[in-house]
């Protein structure tokens, strides 16, 4: 009885338990290594990866890019920044209004695009899915202010949150300058803050 039934069952159970532990350990190790990876950069609310799209990317970076931004371009061509939280680390809850404030970037062309929980564009009554260097309405001092909200806030630079359940903003810098390529931290990223007076997200 022990040899035929119990022992294999015990062995199988232990293997399954060990498998879960092994998977957890492997994931933890990969995440820890990524945290130490100088190519994964967090700047305020924004994150970027210097090896996005590159053949030199490690397995975890490649898997992440493939999941959330397949067919991303090499950083020489485009640098991507992602934010799904505000400056304080609160998730960008679509039931609240958010404001992005900043200045232009040292590159050929830039854009802000809003995505939903499936990393897809969000239906907008204005059919405007992005604010970019050609269509942005600047403030008097040359800076810009972009509002994210479900309802039309009556401002020029509005990104509609529609019926999204989660939000992510992406900045694309096309043909970034050599200075930005050399030091991505010098780019001058905008702030993201809650705009409405509701409870913090």
């Amino acid at each position: 009885m022990w040899d035929v039934v119990v022992a294999p069952l015990v062995f199988l159970t232990l293997m399954l338990g060990g498998g879960a532990i092994g998977g957890w350990l492997a994931e933890r190790r990969a995440q820890t290594n990524t945290g130490k990876n100088p190519n994964e950069i967090k700047l305020g609310a924004w994150t970027t990866n210097r090896l996005a799209g590159s053949s030199a990317a490690n397995a975890l970076t490649r898997a992440r890019i493939a999941t959330h931004g397949i067919l991303a371009m090499h950083r020489k061509e485009t640098i991507y920044f992602f934010a799904s939280q505000d400056d304080l680390g609160n998730p960008l809850d679509p039931d609240h209004d958010w404001e992005i404030r900043g200045r232009g970037f040292d590159c050929r062309w830039w854009s802000f695009t809003l995505y939903d929980e499936e990393d897809q564009l969000i239906e907008s009554p204005s059919r405007r899915y992005s604010v970019h260097s050609d269509n942005v309405a600047p403030e008097a001092d040359g800076s810009y202010r972009i509002v994210i909200s479900r309802a039309d806030p009556g401002v020029a630079n509005w990104l509609a949150a529609g019926n999204a359940r989660k939000l992510m903003v992406t900045i694309r810098l096309y043909n970034p300058s050599q200075a930005v390529l050399d030091d991505v931290r010098s780019v001058g990223l905008p702030s993201i803050r809650q705009r409405d007076k509701g409870p913090a997200a």
Partner: protein, 173 residues
């Protein structure tokens, strides 16, 4: 003994499975992207499909850029090299050609500012041909993607003319 052996075997199995999944994931997602791109055309691989700027209804690829007009080609080099040529849109429009391996790596990219003229011609090959304009693909299959920024509706005729000029064909090595 059986406890220790079972536990260690399980840990090793879990570790190996996690890394295998991590390495295989981009390939599986790329295969899905290739399949979806092929499903929106009737001509199969090694031909370009010309799209319009994505909207909220475009759901073939995650995180599409709504400001770009895309022309895409799922390539397969089994029958020979792939020659891609064409004309660029009018001056001032961003244009780029990217090549992606089957594991999602963007192993080649060329933009309008890097070209001496408003036209281009490249050959994608499995081997290093050692010629100008010849690009070695790390994998037999992949995706060629041409991006053009559409700044305003008036840009579309120039972009469409560029799309229609794209020629793509297999030549025997």
């Amino acid at each position: 003994m059986i406890v220790l052996t079972g536990l260690l075997a399980g840990v090793a199995f879990g570790f190996a499975t996690y890394w295998l999944r991590l390495y295989r994931l981009p390939i599986l997602l790329m295969a899905g992207a290739e399949k979806r791109l092929l499903s929106i055309r009737s001509t199969g691989s090694n031909t370009f499909h010309h799209g319009r700027a994505p909207t909220h209804k475009s759901r073939q690829i995650v995180m599409p850029s709504p400001d770009l007009v895309y022309s895409s080609c799922v390539y397969d080099l089994a029958a020979g090299d792939l020659v891609i040529s064409g004309q660029l849109p009018p001056e001032g429009h961003y244009w780029s050609l990217s090549l992606y391996a089957h594991n999602t790596d963007n192993y080649f990219v060329l933009n309008d500012r890097e070209l001496p003229a408003r036209s281009f011609s490249i050959t994608v090959s499995r081997k290093n041909r050692g010629k100008v304009g010849s690009i070695k693909s790390p994998t037999r299959t992949g995706i060629a993607l041409i991006r053009m920024i559409q700044r305003k509706p008036d840009d579309l005729p120039g972009i469409q003319a560029s799309q229609q000029s794209i020629r793509c064909g297999v030549v025997k090595a």
